[in-house]
Structure formats: C-alpha cells, structure tokens
Amino acid sequence: MNALDSIDDLTAAPGAPAPEDADRAGFYGLIAYLMAQAPDAGTLGALGAAPALDADPGLDEAVALATAWQGLQQVAREMSADAVALEWAALFTGTGRPEVLPYASVVLTGFLMEKPLAELRDDLAALGLARQAGNGEPEDHLASVCEVMRLLIERGDWDAQQRFYRRHLQPWVAPCCRTLSANPLARFYAALADFAQAFFMLEARALGYEQ
C-alpha cells in the first residue's frame, strides 16, 4: 500500500493540521512504524538524516526530547538495517513470550489480551477505527495506539486526542518504554524507547493545554 494514500483517506477532517501538529503526528507515526516492524535501510537512513530538534533550553522536557532524538539518530546512523532487524526479532518475536511485550494489557495487568484491550476496542469503535486486515497484533500494542494518535492529530480533533491519550497511553507508555530501554538486547530500540519516553512526557504536557 502506498503510505500517503492511506493517510489521505483518513485525514478527511477540517483542514491540514498546523505544522507543529504535523510534527507530532510524524513522531507518533515514526514510533508506531518502528515498533511494528524493523525499518528498511531507506527508512533508517531517512531517520539518521532528519533535522535535529531545536529546543528552548528553558524547557526541560524539550531539551530531554532533543537529546533523545539526537541519540536515536546517532544509533540509526551507526547500525545497519540488518542489525536492527535482528534486534527487532530478538525483542519482539519468539515462539512463545517475547522479550518485550509492548502492550497496554501486559503493562497494566501482567497479562496479554486483558481488560484494557477490551476498553480500548470500545473507544476505537467509537472513533471509527479498526485493526488492519491481516495484522495479528492486538490493538493495545504501542504501535497501534501511536497510530491512533497520529490519525487523531491528522483529523485535528484535539479533544479526542486528549481523551485518547489520557485513557490509552498515559497509564502505561512510560513504564513500557522504561522496560524496553532497560532490556540488555536492545540498542536501537533502547534509543527509540528513550526518545519515545521523552516524547510522551512532552505530549502529556502539551495535551494538558486547552485547545
């Protein structure tokens, strides 16, 4: 599927998002994509070459994010796509329980496929969203909730973003990133986790504002 098609379909909502929101959406998209699969060489290269973040030194969260972003780009430049793919497989696949389980249910209840997933599906239905055909991952995967955020930003629905973030990301993303970051097998993904965590911190703050 062509990437842009799918986004176009979905951003039927009022107007194009403001540039800063486009960036937010982009970061969500990036985190989602990297969590869902290992990036190919092209994506990895693009990531390494992306612009740096120019943060106001007075904003601690922003500085932390800029640093983490730099860290992620650094690793992206240093590692080959194959190495990242191996790492992805080592972390997130296995014939049984993988090393890291980036699911809301697991972080919140200790089990896969638990009540948080049921709650999430309620809200997805209300938002008119569903799992992509052929995707076996339950929707409370980190990649999946990030994609939802991306879509909501692209729709420009601030209230929905606030509500969704509060209900389906806030309670678990930070501990999830911490676990991933601490995994001894993780290098690229540790950097991603650090970046994601910094990003979520900033998001939590940003979403605290009124529209």
């Binding site: 937010r24 998209g29 120019d54 994010l65 014939t95 496929m113 638990e114 569903a130 799992r131 504002y209």
Partner: protein, 965 residues
C-alpha cells in the same frame, strides 16, 4: 470507620496525592508556543509522516472493533473428560470473565483448578505466535504460506522416495470431534494408516478389552449415574485429582450411604475420601480381582440368572479364580484376604455397585487383560446395564472419547469400522470419493488394510532395522499435531529418534516441549506451526460418558494461529487432494482469506457415516439446542424434563441411533434392558458371531430390552434378516434402494435402524452375551503376568510374560527377552516406579505449566517416597535426589517424603518437561517460549514394555533407584 467513598472525595484525595507527588496542572503557557519552543513545527517529524500505517485503519461503518457489550459464549473445559461447561464473557473480542454454568447437569457450575483457570488461555502469553523453523540451530520465523510450501514439498518428496508410510501423523484428543474426524480422513488421503492419538497410551487397552467383552469399549454409565450406586470401587483411578468434578456426584452418593473403596498403590486424595483403602502392589490387579471373584463365588454372591442368560464363558473365569487362593493373592498383591473379602462383600451386598478404573489398570503390558477382569467382576455381580452399576471408565482428555470414536486410529476408520475393504468402501461412499482413487493414495491395498504404527512406538518406527519391520521404509517424517513428546515412554530413545528423522513438524499452540528436545539434537528440519486452541474455534466434544457438547467460539485465533481444520485444508490443497477432502463440506473464507472447512458440515458428514456407534443422530442443530436449554436436564438422570429437548438425554450420549430425524434420545447407560431401545435402552452387542465352540453366543430367553418384539437373543440386522422377519416392507422405497445388500452399519439411509428400533423395539446390532472369555486375545481368560521390569524374580518365574512378537503393529516387539534379561533388576533398582497425575497440570503439561494461576501451585517436579525408603537413603523432605532407571537415564527431582506410598514404591507426576537428566533445557527453547515451570519428565526414565494387544506403553510399573543428589 471508613465507608464507601463517593467519587467526589475520591477525586479530592487523588488531587491531594498528585500534589504531594509533585505532579499537578501544567504551568500557564499556550500549547502552540509550548510546542514551538520544543522545536516542533520545523518539519522534524516529516520522516514519520511519510510512513505507512500498519496497525489500524478506518473501519467500515458496518464492522467496527466492538460494540462494547459483554457477550456470553458457552464452551466446555478442555482439560479432562468430565466435560464441565463454562460461560465465557467476552467483550470486544477479549475474554474478560468466566462464569460457572450452574445449569450444566454434568458440573453444576463446579470446576477444579484447571477448569477454573481456562480464561488464561485468552492471554496466550507462552503461545507460539507465528510459524517457525529451526535453521542452523536457530529458531526463525517464517510466513504461513512459506511454511506450508516447504513442509509440503518435503513431505511430498519423502512420499515419493520412501512411500507414504514413511510418514507418521500423531493427531490429538484435544481436537474437536470434527477436527479428529477430518484428521483421520486427511492422513488416509495422504495414503497411510500411520496415525494415532493419545488414546493409545491412555485407554487403548480398555477400549480393546471392554469392546471385546460386550460390544463397545466405553464408559457404560456416567458420572451422574454414579449417584445411584450403593457401592463404588475405584481401582487404579485417582478421580479426586484426575476427574475432580466427578467427585461432586460420587460424594453425593457417599453421603447417601454408598460405600466407597479405593484400591491403589498410593493413598490418593480419592482414597482420603473413601470408606476403605486397599494398598496393592503396582501391576498386580489381576490377582486381586481374582481374589475378589473367588470370594464372590465361594459365598454364592454371584448373579446366577444374569450369568446364565447374558454371559459367555464365565465357568472358565471361575476356574481360574479358584486357583487364586488367599495366600497366592497376598503373595502377588500384598493384600491380605480380609481386605479382599471386604471388597467382595461390599460390592456384592450393596448392589447396584459400580467400578471405576483408569490408568492404574490400563498402562501395563497386560492392560487388556486387567480391564477385562473388571468387566468380569461386574458380570459376575450382574451389575452391567443397570442404573448405578456398570463399568465407569473415566476417560482422559476432553475429547479422547470422540477421537477414539471417530478420529485418527491406526487400525480403524471412524466409528470402529476397521480397515477391511468393505469399511473403506463404506467411508469412500460417505466421503463421495472413488474407492480406487483412495486405494491409489496408498502404497498398496495391503498397506491400506494393515494397521499403522502406534504413537507409543513411533520412535522404533524411526530407528528399528528396516528388515525387521512390516512396512517398506522407516519413518522419515514425524508430525506431532496436538500431542506432547514427554508423554511417551523411553524419552532417552526418543531423542535418538528425533535426531534420525528427516522432518519433524509440530502443529500445536504450545509446541515448545517438542521444540526444545528437537533443538537439543538437531540443527534443521523442524517446523512449528501455531494451532488455535479449542476456545478459538467451535465444534463438538464427547465427554467420558459419551455425551456430546457443542462449544462456541470464544475468541478469534490469537496471533497468527489457525484452527487445525483450516491448516489441514491448506495442506490438502498443497498435496493436491483438496477437492476429494471436502467434497461434502462447505468452505468458509476466514478473516485472513484462508479456507476453513465448515464445522457443522463436517459433523453432518460424521452423522451420515457413523452408524456403528450411533454418532448419527447428534446433528449440530440438536446439540446446540441442548446447550441453550441446559436447565431442563435433571442432573440425577441426565434427562430433559420439559422444554424443547424433552425426553432427550444430555449430550445425546452415543449410541444416538439413526438419523437426527429419528429423534433417538441417546443412551445414558449402555446395555440397559430395563428401558425401551427408543428410550436409550439396549443389550449386549452381537459382534462375535452367533456361536463359539458349539455354544450359543446369543442372549438367553427373556433378556431383551424392554418392549422388544424379539424377546430372545438375535444376531445383528442385515437386509437379509429384515426380509426373513418380514420387516423389509416397512422401509420406504428410497430406503429399500439404499439398504439393499447392506446391513445396519452400512445402510446410509438409516432405514434398517429405523424399522428395527422404532417399529420393533430391537437393537440393530443384535442381542448377544457378553464374553468373559475373549478367544481372539493372547490370554482368552485373563492371566496375571509380571511386568517386564519387576522387583520380584520369584514372581517373574511363576508368572512370566508373553513371548516376543515378530511383527506387531508393523514392529518387532519384545517381552520374554526383556524380562529374562532383567530378571534380577530389583537388586540394583529395588523401588517400583509408578507415575500419574497432579490436579493442577494436564498431560505433558506445556499448556498448564504456562498458565501462571496453575503454575504457581506446583513449582517443582518431585518424587513421592516413603519415610522408611527415604531414611534408608539418607533423604529428607525437599532434598534433591537422582532417580535412576535401568535404561541408564537419571532425572533430578525433589523428594516428597510421605506415607502416601509404601516403602517399596515411588510415585512421580508426569507433567513436567524442560529439564533433561539434570540439564536445564532453557537454552534449547525458542527464547521466551519456555513455560513458567520446568522440571524433569518422568518419561525420560521410563522403560520398555507394551501391551500385548494394543501397544499401550507400560508407564505404571517399572523400577528405579533413588539417591540423594
């Protein structure tokens, strides 16, 4: 004092806490400038914005993710044959709650540890998620299509090179009836009889022994019916752990005054609930039972009329029994005569009395004879065919009964039709395929009719000298489709076999026990395919009491897993026989575009072909209707009182005769002459001819079922007999066309059955005597023979085993040779080693040991050892010890010092795997796939020994030595 907080004060305290925790509302600043100051709005996220979405999409308005409502799906526990119903609460496809089904007449809402925790299956944390293969010693993920292709090509190549019999397919008693049946058909269409499932190593000796005694090899009555018993004799069954919910009915009977006796080498939890406990030496059931029968005869407590009218050959049993004088019995069993007398008297004076047996009796080289002894005991007492009596054979897996009835058996097509040309023709007609085509699938017509290699011996099928085998080549490809490796004996030899294979395929939700063993000895050629569990598909399941229940699908298959029948169809397509495979079966496209054979249609095909045992009346519609009206069934009688199923027995227990339109209510108790045949009544089956050695085998005068037109013994019905009796014209014209030249088993119209039963109250299978003497077995009159590995050389001399067999189920099989070689094994291995179950785990245990709620309860593999035996070895409770066996294997386990076992016996649970002779197998498991609890498999240390009729493995009586680690 605190009371329920209002949400308001709660919010207040939350705010307070937040404040203390340093959180709080963000400082005033507007959002956009905040984001800008953070460096956003400069296109920094562009790299992500161009990436495609892979997880979510805009839903079609029609099928959004969930409607938020809690749906209740009715299913049945998958952990044992009791068949406890479960209500699963599902919200948005997530299994969020589990509720008891009080209305189920079988379990009244009750569950043991396993059933109470099945919701954990919905988490699937330790499940196989995607297909995997072993490549250069590493586990790597592969796509489904790739896996099917690669495996398919390899199998076709092996088929080409060595013939279809170089493959061996182990199916599963965990499959639904429909899947079992389809698997049986699938393997046959591949062209081999090399297929088997758990029943082989579970109740095969029962099925053979009991069926050969009176017709059907199944539990005659039911758990519920035991409420009517006045004495219950458990021997070699530990129901409190293996069939916990059955105890609901048994304790109820006991509270009503029924006497309960337990005979077992261990003082089990069942024994703890009994009135009397008898400790016998493992493997000595036959002498004990002869002692009991002798006592009954000596006191004239036998049911003389019953024996005269309904039993063949009882004199010979009596004769043999008289040889077993009290001293001999005590010498062989260790049971004093007073206890023997107690059993005999209790059983005789509290009729109806019933017996229960299980693995303690079946898993022996003479299992077939032991189980026949149990039938003989009940025949002597006239207890068979009555409420509260019968032989209550507690079966094993949730659907082992169904898989035995219509599943992958090496010696039979569905419904015990056997493998003769006529049987093939019958099933070919049902399947709608040409007999010659079918024949062409096999290596030859001879191989088509020759029973395949059993699951207990597949390892020898791989490693045996080809010359000595009864098939052209060794097994090159082994397929484990729902069975664990650690349940088969001689684990040490299995490792060699795994090494020698060309291909090993495991289709299982939890394949990692096999995976870890294979990875220990191989680098390549192993595939793991994720099967869905029974909660992720739907279909019928047959409980121990022959009742069928319908399971609804609880959740969608987790991860990449697929239901077994979908996988079978994919392979059938790859092998090129998809069209023949599902000729009468509709195909549905699943969410991922795979074709799924329609489960209802499969059952309808079963209905159309399985007349022998009455799997013909249980249409999907009838079963579903019952599941919706559970409350109408009386738990004491299993009969519906009122409601749409009025008069039917729960689960339409087979035989449920004729086609569904006949509305047969099912047979709650087999051979029950006190009821009309259209009311579940019956009599012993005429299966072995009408006479033997000049003695009639047909039942005596007046012993027909209630209201039968023929009130004497009669043979089974054929078109010829019908004509002779002048009943032929009661068939419709269409039925006549179909029934011409057929008998009740092959008449696809069901006309013969309808006329015989409905119009004349007779049993289609005839009315005969039960056979106390089974002349076609090696020991027609059951004889005691010592296990191959015995600690008693004196008894080995007195009661030696059978002679070796050259070609038995395609393999040379040793008896005398082994026993003689190991005559004095007791010197170095003085302890009798037996094995069995723990309530928390099931089977090989990979599933249940992956369930944290269960795993928490049993965290160590152990051996039960008597305080005296322990003291002799300087062992104290919880010590690590080595258990070593004559095979040279030794396993490291914890000692559990207890009076439960006598000083000469030790007991080990068999549910563990993941440690190998002291070594932790963790490194061979695909990373993260190890179950929560790992331990030594007892079968790593078990020895050679197979039943002389069925190839049942000897896992209850062998020997070992124990030393402190």
């Amino acid at each position: 004092m605190l009371v329920k907080k209002s949400s308001k004060s709660n919010a207040a305290s939350t705010a307070l806490r937040d404040a203390l925790a340093g959180g709080g509302a963000p400082r005033r600043l507007d959002r956009r400038s905040f984001l800008k100051r953070s460096g956003f709005a400069a296109g920094v996220g562009a790299v992500g914005a161009s990436l495609p979405l892979t997880m979510v999409r805009q839903a079609d308005a029609a099928k959004a993710a969930g409607d938020g409502a809690v749906e209740v799906k009715r299913t049945v526990c998958t952990h044992c044959s009791v068949g406890c119903a479960i209500d699963a609460e599902v919200k948005n496809g997530v299994w969020v709650g589990q509720e008891p089904v009080f209305d189920s007449p079988i379990n009244l809402g009750a569950h043991c540890a396993k059933g109470a925790s099945v919701r954990e299956h919905g988490h699937g944390e330790h499940r196989l998620r995607t297909p995997m293969k072993l490549s250069g010693g590493k586990w790597v993920a592969v796509k489904w299509e790739e896996a099917i292709d690669e495996i398919g090509d390899k199998l076709l190549a092996i088929r080409e090179k060595y013939g279809p019999d170089a493959t061996h397919w182990i199916g599963s008693s965990k499959h639904s009836n429909e899947q079992s049946y389809l698997f049986c058909k699938f393997v046959r269409m591949f062209g081999t009889n090399n297929t088997d499932h758990q029943a082989r190593i579970c109740h095969s000796t029962t099925v053979a022994g009991v069926a050969n005694t009176w017709g059907y090899g199944a539990m005659t009555n039911s758990y519920n019916d035991m409420q009517h018993a006045k004495a219950i004799f458990f021997i070699g069954s530990n129901a409190a752990e293996a069939h916990p919910v059955s105890m609901l009915h048994i304790l109820h009977a006991k509270e009503g005054g029924a006497k309960v006796i337990v005979a077992d080498p261990r003082y089990t939890r069942t024994a703890a609930k009994a009135d009397h406990y008898v400790r016998l030496r493992s493997g000595s059931d036959i002498p004990l039972l002869y002692g009991v029968i002798r006592t009954i005869f000596e006191n004239g407590w036998e049911d003389k009329k019953y024996i005269a009218d309904r039993v063949y050959g009882m004199d010979q049993i009596r004769e043999e029994a008289m040889q077993w004088t009290p001293d001999k019995v005590e010498d062989a069993t260790g049971v004093p005569d007073a206890q023997i007398r107690l059993i005999a008297e209790t059983m005789a004076k509290n009729r109806p009395s019933t017996v229960v047996w299980c693995m303690g009796q079946t898993q022996h080289t003479i299992g077939n004879a032991i189980t026949r002894m149990m039938c003989d005991l009940q025949l002597v007492l006239g207890n068979v065919g009555i409420m509260g009596g019968g032989t209550n054979i507690f079966r094993g897996h949730d659907n082992v009964q169904g898989a035995t009835d219509i599943g992958p058996n090496p010696n039979s097509l569905p419904g015990y039709y056997g493998l003769a040309a006529g049987s093939w023709k019958h099933w070919c007609r049902v399947w709608g395929v040409d007999y010659d085509w079918m024949k062409g699938r096999f290596a030859s017509e001879e191989m088509m009719q020759k029973p395949g290699i059993t699951v207990s011996r597949w390892i020898d099928g791989v490693t045996e000298n080809t010359e000595l085998m009864d098939q052209p080549a060794n097994i090159k490809a082994q397929i484990f489709w729902g069975m664990a490796p650690n349940s088969q004996s001689r684990g040490k030899d299995m490792l060699e076999a795994m090494k020698a294979l060309e291909l090993l395929v495991v289709v299982d939700p939890y394949p990692s026990a096999t995976a870890s063993m294979a990875a220990k000895v191989r680098q390549d050629g192993v595939y793991l395919l994720p099967a869905a569990t029974q909660f992720e598909t739907y279909g019928s399941v047959t409980a121990s009491n022959r009742s069928l229940q319908w399971r609804e699908k609880v959740i969608e298959p987790l991860f990449e897993s697929k239901p077994d029948h979908t996988i079978m169809y994919a392979f059938a397509k790859k092998f090129g026989f998809a069209d023949q495979f599902c000729k009468n079966i509709k195909l549905n496209k699943d969410a991922k575009g795979w074709m799924e054979p329609d489960v209802e249609d499969i059952l309808r095909e079963v209905n159309r072909g399985t007349w022998t045992i009455g799997y013909s009346g249980q249409s999907p519609e009838r079963l579903k209707l019952q599941m919706q009206h559970l409350s109408t069934f009386n738990p004491a009688t299993l009969r519906a009182e009122g409601g749409p199923c009025d008069g039917e027995y729960f689960g339409l227990p087979w035989p449920c005769w004729g086609n569904p339109e006949l509305k047969h209510p099912g047979s709650p108790n087999l051979y029950d002459t006190t009821r009309h045949v259209m009311d579940g009544g019956g009599n012993f089956r005429a299966r072995f001819g009408v006479e033997h050695d000049g003695v009639s085998l047909l039942a005596g005068e007046g012993s027909s079922s209630k209201g039968a037109d023929l009130n004497f013994g009669y043979p089974e019905f054929t078109d010829v007999l019908l004509k002779k009796l002048g009943w032929w014209d009661e068939l419709t014209d269409a039925e006549k066309t179909e029934a011409e030249g057929k008998n009740w088993k092959t008449d696809l119209s069901g006309g013969i059955i309808r006329v015989v039963m409905k119009n004349h109250g007779c049993m289609p299978y005839g009315n005969a005597r039960a056979r106390a003497v089974v002349w076609n077995f090696p020991d027609p009159v059951p004889k005691h023979r010592e296990p191959l590995f015995s600690t008693r050389p004196d008894l080995v001399d007195k009661y030696p085993t059978h002679d070796d067999k050259a070609k038995f189920w395609r393999l040379p099989t040793l008896y005398k040779t082994v026993q003689e070689k190991y005559r004095d094994v007791g010197k170095d291995f003085p302890l009798i080693m037996t094995s069995g179950r723990l309530v928390e785990y099931e089977g090989g245990g990979e599933e249940t040991r992956s369930n944290p709620w269960l795993a928490e309860l049993q965290q160590d593999m152990f051996v039960e050892i008597n305080p005296r035996a322990a003291a002799d070895r300087g062992i104290v409770d919880k010590d690590w010890v080595w258990v070593s066996s004559p095979t040279g294997a030794q396993i490291k386990v914890r000692a559990l010092v207890t009076e439960r076992v006598g000083a000469d016996t030790v007991f080990l649970p068999f549910h563990f795997s993941g440690r190998w002779m002291g070594e932790d197998m963790l490194k061979y498991y695909p990373k993260g796939a190890a179950p929560i609890v790992r331990g030594e498999a007892v079968n790593t240390a078990t020895t050679y020994g197979y039943d002389v009729v069925t190839m049942m493995q000897e896992t209850k009586s062998t020997v070992c030595q124990i030393a402190k680690a």
